[in-house]
Each structure stands twice: as structure tokens, then as C-alpha cells.
Symmetry: D2
Subunit: 351 residues, 4 copies
């Protein structure tokens, strides 16, 4: 008989792992059983902070421990595939850091493995669990914006240059997962441009356009070399428009009752009369709950009660496919790259 | 013997023409002799506002008038070529609204005509004469920014949808002329994407990337369907970076003493150590002189004293070539379009 | 028989007079008959701008003209009393610049004269006709804020130092008229402090507190020597709170659904439990109509149809009484000055 | 022989105490020997977080411990006097939370005791050690602002209502210590007004004016019931002016090269010509070092090397005297209260 608290094993106690341990430990519905890491200093640190948790430098100890029902993979991306696959094969549910894997092929194999074993495979795109993105998602689904015309994001700041991945995989990944989550169609092609200002380093600046079958368009501007920090997305709809500014301490989302009205038929373009509508602005109250706390609770809910992750393997795969296509387009100076094998019809979940 | 005041004829007294008339009339070094327009109401209005100015519905009256040394063309873009060409053939200097012509071919013929007759051909890219762009240009030329890494602009608002030209020709044109002015190299290729949200209308939203031979990159984001008005450009350099916000009433330019430092050789990328430098911010005082006033004074100075226009025919042509290339790239979903016949080496002027 | 358009005479064509002439001239329900000024240059300028208007340097010409039913006094404050009184005695309705008179005594005599002759006496506190203040007034009257707890305003900028009046009479006057308009009780005492940083000049910086019988309080911070321009008022209520920022181009009013909740009885203060409520923010659309246009139309409506001015003689008198008391308090370093003879019960009008 | 690390005892491990313990523990020049608190839960918590620290519910244990050279008092204000006095009598240096004592009389006795025993008595006005206030202080002392004309601060937010002290003692205390620190003269009188919106509670909103012998003036606006959080001070000088915005993440201080110029003699006020000067704005880089870390290091430096506290007993006393005077003025609706017994000539320290 299983304990009512979900037994958690965490592999990787570097930059992000401690946050995951802390949030699982704080949850009444989960229990951190053991943490594995190859670095003795990190293990000692973990043991000090978490007296009741077993620490080990052998990942196998987690796989073999029957008290552990789910494994959290918080290691560098290159090891995600091997560690997550081993966990699934050991019958453990998996929560893995984003991006799920360095390639779409590996991501697909993890999805297959989880599907076959009927295990939860969830990817830690934390932004999806922020109160702000929850609210945007809710507004879009309720039809508040009408038809979504565009998502246009700027995510720039000074640093931190990564040496192994480009700014696409580091920063654009956030917007791509948000776009995947809030829009109800998948992109069909990508055009992207990028630039490296430090010789020998990956691109530190990029612009990505996603094309859809509908007239909707998405654009993401990312830059590691900006004088000021900007985290802002404009979301335009046929009825209303949103400005989402994550740097605002409280009013992160502003909903504008603004737009255009069109008279006349499209066949007679020269007779089109376009009117402008300017109404109220409204900033819904955004609660301040920590996103990671919501996420770990939802992960337990998925494992225990069959809830569906906001970011399951398929959505994480779609994000990776866009990143791969965008990287190819960057290499070809913006030439469009079709997203040829779209992921299957999505099953959107709401937390 | 010529009057010491430059005799001006203006054709077109619609939206922008009255501003040109007002500024030439206010200048001590110029005199508005006559204004031509086909619309009797506009002519009557012009006569009422400018008692001493002759009004006519015959453009030929301007061409034939020996007291008119220069003609200002402020009509819709489709008529720019014919009117400007006639003026040049009549031996008049020309100041023409932007864009100079609807095609690069026509622009080239105007340049040829002016060159052969040694007449001034200046294009009214007013932004170049704003105190803010003057200051940016000065800072770049003085080397304050070091090597320019990028120019990244957002120019979005709600309206005004144009029926005959896309948002590229309406809004991006401003940034393209600024880029042409402040950078000392010309772009070699363009990738652009765009979207139309009103069936039968031109693109109302676009993103343009300009590639250069150096690692410098320029990007322009334009949109007629934005919930809020943004007029902001980030200009990154190896030494300093600028935020240019034209919506700020006074501190339009902020210069950040921020950037990165690189240790190690490019061959050993994995050993690169990138450091971050954060210093003071500085907002130089920007005078409030009206740009158009500076521009008309400079036009007279070009005609009388051989000064060089900030936007001569060649720079206006380069802007048109980028617009044409960007429009083709939009039609091909971002495929890069080379700028095959670059305009000749530029001769930058400073006001 | 009177013309259906109200015949207007304007005395004073200096800084503000031309705006009044322009707005009356633009109104379909009024007609500017004549303008008087002692300065020939101003008269000539007026004649040029307004071809159909009679100009004169004799004020008596306006008083004697039967086509003039109402006189607008736009001269320096020292002459308001004599000119307005003469107009009333000649049977003309009066719209007078703010402040109505340099003293409460003179203001009372104008009110008496207008009352006895049943003429309209309106004072040009233009802010009351701005769409933003109209909206605030509407929200307060509808009870949206609950009980008003405070009005706290900052109105500071660099310049323009006046030589004849202090910053109280120049800047605070705006807030005092807004406070008088939106609150439904009159202040009972004033404490104010001020400072002069240029020897021999009037106070250039002041802080005023208005006390009411209820726990409501009002405070106004005015300063001619501020590095940046601020025009901001916070209005706190038991249910909601407003931030009114007149420097915002569009969202001038933000309504916050925030506040406190109190449990427990006042007798047991140490047991009070104060809770905090944070809800949505809402920025109602503010139309962009020019305030002066609304005001001149309302003035005509008052004369023709018996509408009541937003700022009649009594409310202007209350503002002057507060200014006089505040000036005395400044001289006594903040000692409270009672408002001993409150103006009679107010009759609030809504445009 | 004393250990080279300063031995610290802390009394009070409630809200602020843990921060002091953490910062002393992190300092290489200090060592937390023991912590006293009456609450067993807090002691247990302290012991868990700080394995090597002795915990006790007997304050005497700290006084008797020869390894403890200095005592930090972080208890509620009512107990400051008794605890600090006992520490001084036991020969310990003292760092006490602000405000130093609930009355000026008690503050004076602590100062006397420390003076007589030649012990350091420092008060934890943490703001003085923030990099922003350090920079402002430096600019003022270097004469960058010229003669200081005013300090005008707004410190408002929603919550936290205190039940035992008014908003003066809770929020204005910060500005009063900053004013005491950066100005080189002490105020001679105070006028203050306040208001309580919750019956039975202390004032939740207040405005304080400080008068000086020079034309300098200081004003502080504090409010627990504001819809938005503001932490902003304007500091005007004869040469430059500062806007200090503590809510800004990076550019907390902006220095404006703006001001007025005066022509003419004060005797002929009507002939005064006041000009306006608008130059550059400059935001010096502000390091991000935690203020409390700087403060504990400086405390050790004071004890060990005879450095002088930024906030010694005398400056803390001056702040308390202003708070007492302001409270009296509030009770009298703004009547000015003289600061009759000014603290002795100050000895300003710089960290």
C-alpha cells in the first residue's frame, strides 16, 4: 500500500534542484525521499538543508527504492534523456527540467516509453504555472480576446551568456511553451534570424516568427545583450488585446478593450473603412502564489488522480521541434522551415 | 540676381504640405512664392492662411516662375516621380516627401537627373532632423558606443491603417532611414515576415531583419494593431548601449555604460569567460527645436552653400531598395533577399 | 429678440483670452461679437485671427453693445472685480478667469450682484471640465469609492515662477477647486507650510492640509522648483482608491479595488484585526474632448437653459477662502486657521 | 586576549533579529556567540539555523559571557531602554534597533551611559547604509547639488497598520534619519498633520514639514492606506536636483542638471528675472550590496578601530525628538512645535 504522500526522488542538486526539493518538501501531498548528485559538496549541502532526506551519489539507489514513485530530473540537458528513460523503465513517473531533451527524436522516445507504461511524463516549463500565464490562458479560452491575431514578445536583458546553447534554447523556449499553451493551433512554419557578437559563442540575439494556418502570427525577440531588462508580450485579438509585463510587481496583465472595426467587403479593399475602438483598460488581480509550488502540487495531482500536465511530453516535443526548426532557419538567414511532422492533436489541460 | 531669400514653390497642400509651407514661411532665409494644388478648397484655405502667397491649380505656373528656385513635392507617393522630374528639368532644386518614389528605378532616374543638372535633390525623412536622432548620430560617430552590434526598434500603435501601402512603407520607413543614417555600412540582405489581419488590406504587422557584412544586425518591429503606442529603439554597442524612447517627453535618449567583456580566444569557446559590466546611465539634454524647422533651414543651406542633405537621393534610394526587398521577403515567408546592387559609397552629412 | 447664438464679448486677449475666443467661436451656440484689450498689438492680432469680430480698446463698447449678452473676463486677477462688477451692472452674464478675485470680500460682492440681478456668474476653473475630473466626480458620486478618506495631490514642475502670486494661488488653486467639487463637505480648517528659495519672491513651494469634520483629509503639494513634472493625485476611499495621473497620455485614471477591512470594535483597539484587500485595477476610457470646449458650451447652457455652473460664484469663493487661510497659515509656520464663515450649503451641479 | 572576531550576543529573534544574526554570521570579522529570546519556538528555530550558536532564554547569560563584546538589541521598542542600559552597564558595546527608545529622555540616558563608559552605541537605521543613500550623501557633501533647498519624500503603501505606533514612528522615521544624515543643519521646528481612518487606531496618514534656520525645508508624506507603493524623494539644490526612487530596480538615483537662475537684486522683486536651466540627467551606478551587511561590518569597525557610526546615539536622539515634536503638532492640527533643546553639534561620519 502506497503512502498517501507521493514519494519523490530528485536527481541533480545544482542550480534549480534545490528549488524543486524545497517545493516538494513544503507540499503536504509529497515527500522527498532521496536526492542523488555526483558532487559530494552538493550532497552535503542538501543533507544539511534537509535533515530527513537520504543523499546518494548513485542514481540507481533512486531507481531501486520502492518508496520513490516519481523521479525529478534536474540535471544538464544532455543527460535528460538517459536519466528520464531509466526512471520510466524503473516504473517511476517523471518530472524533467526543460527542455525535455536536446532533440525531438529523444523526446519522442521518452513520450513512447511513458505512454506504453502509462506513466506521467511532465516537463518543467514553470512559466505555465505562473498566475499571470494562468490568467492569460483563461482569458483566451473564455474568448475575451476574440480571435487571437498575434503574440509578440520581447525577452531581453544583459546576460547570462550560455556557452552550450543559443539564446533560442535559453530564453525563447519560455515564450514557445506559453504560445503552445495559450493558442489552440500549432505553427506550420518558422522563420528566424540570429546573430552572435562574441566569436565562438552561440547566437546571443534572435528574432523568431511562427506562421500558422490562420492569419495568427507569433514573434519572439530574445537578446542576452540588452541595456535594460524587458519581459513583455503583446497579445492582440479581434475583440481585446493584452499587454503582459512580467517586470511589473503587481499589474502584470493589462487587458485593453481596443481594436478595429471593419466595414465593407474584402473584395472591395479600396472601399474598406477601418474604424478604431478605444475602451477601458482592466488589470485583473494576479495572486502571488509561487509558480513552482502550483506545479509540484499539480504533478502530484496528475500522478494520483489522473489530472493532465499543463506541459506533457507532446507539448514539450512541439516546443523542441520549433527550436530545432528555428535553429535551422537562423543558419539560413531567415529562410522558412516547415514544421513537417506536427505533433498529434493536443489535449490541453487546465490546472 | 537672386533674392537673398530662397524662393520656394510647394505642390500639394494636403496633410503635410501646410507644415512645410509654415516652416519655410517662418524661415528668414526662405520665402514661399506659390503653392499649387488641384483642390480648390485647399487652395482657398492656403490663401487665407498665407496672404502673400500665390495659389494656383496649375503646376506649370510653379515651373515657369523664375522667382521659384526650389520646389517642394508634398503629394501622394504615386505622383512624386513625375512632379519631381519636371521640377528638375525646369532647373529647380527639389525637396520631396518620403518615400522619394514608389520604386527604386524611378528613384535612380531622379538621382541621375539631379546629378546631371547639379541640383539639390533632398528627401523629407524628417526623423533625421529630430534632435534625438541628431544626438544618436553624433554619439555613434564619436565612437561612444564602440562597434555597433545592433539596432532593434519597436514602432507600434493602434492605427492608422493605410489602404495603399503596407505597414513597411508607412512605419518601417522611418527606422530604415535612421539605420541608413547612423550606421556606416549598408545592409547586404533582408529577411522579413508580415501578416494581414484585415482581408483585402496590406500587411498591418511586420518584422524585418537587416543583415550586414559585419556581425551588426538591425531589426524593426512595426504594427498598426497594438494596444499601446511604442516608439522605442535599443542600440547596442561594444562599449555602451542606447535606449531611444520617442514617447518620453524629455529624456528620449538614455546611454547605458553597460556591456560584456570577453576573456579567452574564440578558438576555445568552451573556455570563454564572459563578464558583465554595469556602470552609469546618462540622458543627454535634448533640445526641443522642431525637426522640420531644422530641415528647411538645412535645405536652404544645401542650395545656397553647398551643404549636403542628411537624406539625399542616394540614401533615400537605399531605403526604397530595402523596402522593396523586405516586401519580397514577406511574400516568401522570411526567405532572405539579397540587396544585389548596393547604392554607391555613401557620403554622410552632418547637419 | 435675441439671436439664437449667445452674443459674447471678451475683455483681455493676452495668454488665455485667445483660447476662450477660439472655443466660443467654434461653438455653434455662441458668437464672439467683440473683443476689448488695451494693447494695440493684441487687438491687431485678434482682428487678423478673427475676421468677423469687432475689436476695441474701450471696455465700455462691450457694456453698451446690446448684441452682447455675456462678458468673458480674461485679464489679470487685480482687475477681475471691477470688470466683472461693471459687466453685471450692465446686465451681462459673466464668465471670469480663476481666481475670481484677489479677496473673499470682493468675491462675495460679485456673488451678491449676480444673485440680485439673476445673472449667471461662472468662474473658469477649467480642470472641472476635463474628462478625467468629470469621471472622478462621477465615480465619487456613484459611491464607487465608498466613504472618501483622503485626496492627496502632487503638482510640481520646474517653473514658471510668478512674481505677483505664490505657488498656492498659481498651482494649488487647481486642486482646491477639484476638492471642492468632488467632496460633499467643506473644509473647516487649514494648515499650510511654504518656503521661498528666491529672496524677494513669493513662496515657490508649499504643502497644504485641509481638515474636515469627518475623518477625511486633503493634502496638496505644490512646487515650482521640481526636477520633473508631476501631476498626480491619490484619492482613497473605504471601498476603492483612485490614482489620477494627468501626465499619462491615455490612462489618466486608475481605480484600484483595494483597501482594508476592520474586525473588532473601536473600544478594544488592541484587539483590532486589520485585513488587506487587493483586487483588480480598472482604467476607464477617458474621452479626449477639450475641457474648454465643454466649458463654453456649458456656460451657454447655463445662460440659456438655467443649467448650473460646475464652478459658480460660491464654489469659487470657497476656493479663495481656503487660499487666504492657507496663506495666513504659511505665515505662521503651519498653525491651523479655521474657516470661520463657511460659504452656504453648496448646490453641486453636474455637467 | 580578545579573539580577532568580534563576539556578538543578540537579544530578540523575532522579525528582524534573524537578519542581524545572518549578517553577523556571514561577516569574517564577527562571530555570533549567543542568542537570547523568551520564546522557546524562536530559540529552537535559531538553534536549527545556526548550529554553533548558544541559545538561551536568560538575557543575563549574554551579559555575563566574557566572549561577548557587543550586544545587539532586536526586541520591541518598549524594552530597548532596559536591555541596552543593562548591556552598557555590563561593559558591552550596543547596536540597537530603531527607534533607539520610545522617548528622548531615555535616549539621552543611554547616550550618557555609553559616553561615560566609552562604549559604542549605534542605532540600526539601516537605510543609511543602503548604497543609494550612501551615494546621495556623497553627492551632497561634494557640493554637487549646491545649496540644498528641500527634501520632499513620499513613502506610502497599503499596510501594514501597526497597533502600537503611528505611521510617523513606523515610516517617517526612515526619512527623518536620512534627512538628519544628509543635511548639515538640524531642524528648528516641526509642523505636522495626521489622520486616522480606523477608529481606535493610531494615525495611518501624516504629512510633516521640518523648518530650518536656512531656507531649506523638508517634507515627508507617509500613508499606510495607499493604492500603490511609492518610495520616492525629491532633493532640490541650487545647482542640481535628485530624484531618489527606491522602487526602481537599478536606477534608484537620478541627478538632474536643472534649476533656476536669478538676475536682479532681492530688493527689486518686481524686476527679478528668473531663468530656467535644463541640462543632462545622470543616474550613477548603484552597487547592490546588502545594506545590513555594510552596517554590521561598520559596527565592528567602530568597535575595533574607532570608526564613527553613521547613526550614533546623538543622531538617533535627534530623530526621536523630531518624532515627539511631530506627534505633538499632529495633536494640534499642524501648530508648529519648536525643537527647543537641539542635540549638540553633530559629528557626521562617512562609512
Amino acid at each position: 500500500m502506497l503512502n498517501s504522500q507521493l514519494g519523490i526522488g530528485v536527481v541533480g542538486h545544482g542550480y534549480w534542484g534545490p528549488n524543486l526539493v524545497r517545493n516538494f518538501a513544503a507540499s503536504p501531498v509529497a515527500r522527498v525521499v532521496a536526492v542523488a548528485d555526483l558532487d559530494p559538496t552538493r550532497l552535503a549541502n542538501c543533507a544539511r538543508l534537509n535533515p530527513g532526506v537520504t543523499v546518494t551519489n548513485r542514481y540507481e539507489d533512486l531507481l531501486d527504492n520502492p518508496a520513490i514513485e516519481a523521479i525529478v530530473v534536474a540535471t544538464p540537458v544532455q543527460s535528460h534523456y538517459d536519466l528520464a528513460l531509466a526512471a520510466l523503465k524503473a516504473g517511476k513517473h517523471v518530472l524533467v527540467e526543460k527542455p525535455m531533451a536536446p532533440s525531438g527524436d529523444q523526446a519522442r522516445r521518452l513520450i513512447d516509453e511513458a505512454d506504453r507504461r502509462r506513466l506521467i511524463l511532465m516537463v518543467d516549463h514553470t512559466f505555465l504555472y505562473t498566475p499571470a500565464v494562468r490568467k492569460i490562458s483563461e482569458l483566451v479560452r473564455q474568448g475575451e480576446l476574440g480571435k487571437v491575431y498575434y503574440y509578440d514578445s520581447t525577452r531581453v536583458s544583459l546576460g547570462l551568456f550560455q556557452s552550450d546553447v543559443s539564446v533560442l534554447w535559453d530564453l525563447a523556449v519560455h515564450d514557445l511553451s506559453i504560445i503552445d499553451h495559450i493558442l489552440d493551433e500549432a505553427p506550420v512554419a518558422v522563420s528566424a534570424t540570429g546573430c552572435r557578437h562574441v566569436a565562438g559563442s552561440p547566437e546571443n540575439m534572435a528574432h523568431i516568427t511562427l506562421f500558422f494556418e490562420s492569419p495568427c502570427v507569433a514573434h519572439v525577440n530574445v537578446n542576452w545583450l540588452s541595456p535594460v531588462k524587458v519581459r513583455q508580450a503583446f497579445i492582440g485579438g479581434s475583440k481585446k488585446m493584452i499587454v503582459y509585463d512580467d517586470m511589473e510587481p503587481t499589474e502584470k496583465i493589462k487587458v485593453y478593450d481596443k481594436g478595429i472595426t471593419v466595414d465593407g467587403s474584402p473584395e472591395k479593399a479600396h472601399q474598406l473603412r477601418i474604424g478604431y475602438r478605444a475602451g477601458d483598460m482592466w488589470a485583473p488581480h494576479i495572486p502571488t502564489k509561487e509558480a513552482l509550488q502550483s506545479e509540484v502540487e499539480h504533478f502530484v495531482d496528475c500522478v494520483r488522480n489522473g489530472a493532465q500536465p499543463l506541459c506533457d511530453g507532446w507539448s514539450a516535443l512541439r516546443v523542441i521541434e520549433v527550436l530545432e526548426a528555428a535553429s535551422r532557419s537562423v543558419a539560413e538567414h531567415g529562410a522558412p522551415v516547415a514544421l513537417g511532422h506536427p505533433a498529434p492533436a493536443r489535449h490541453k489541460a487546465t490546472a
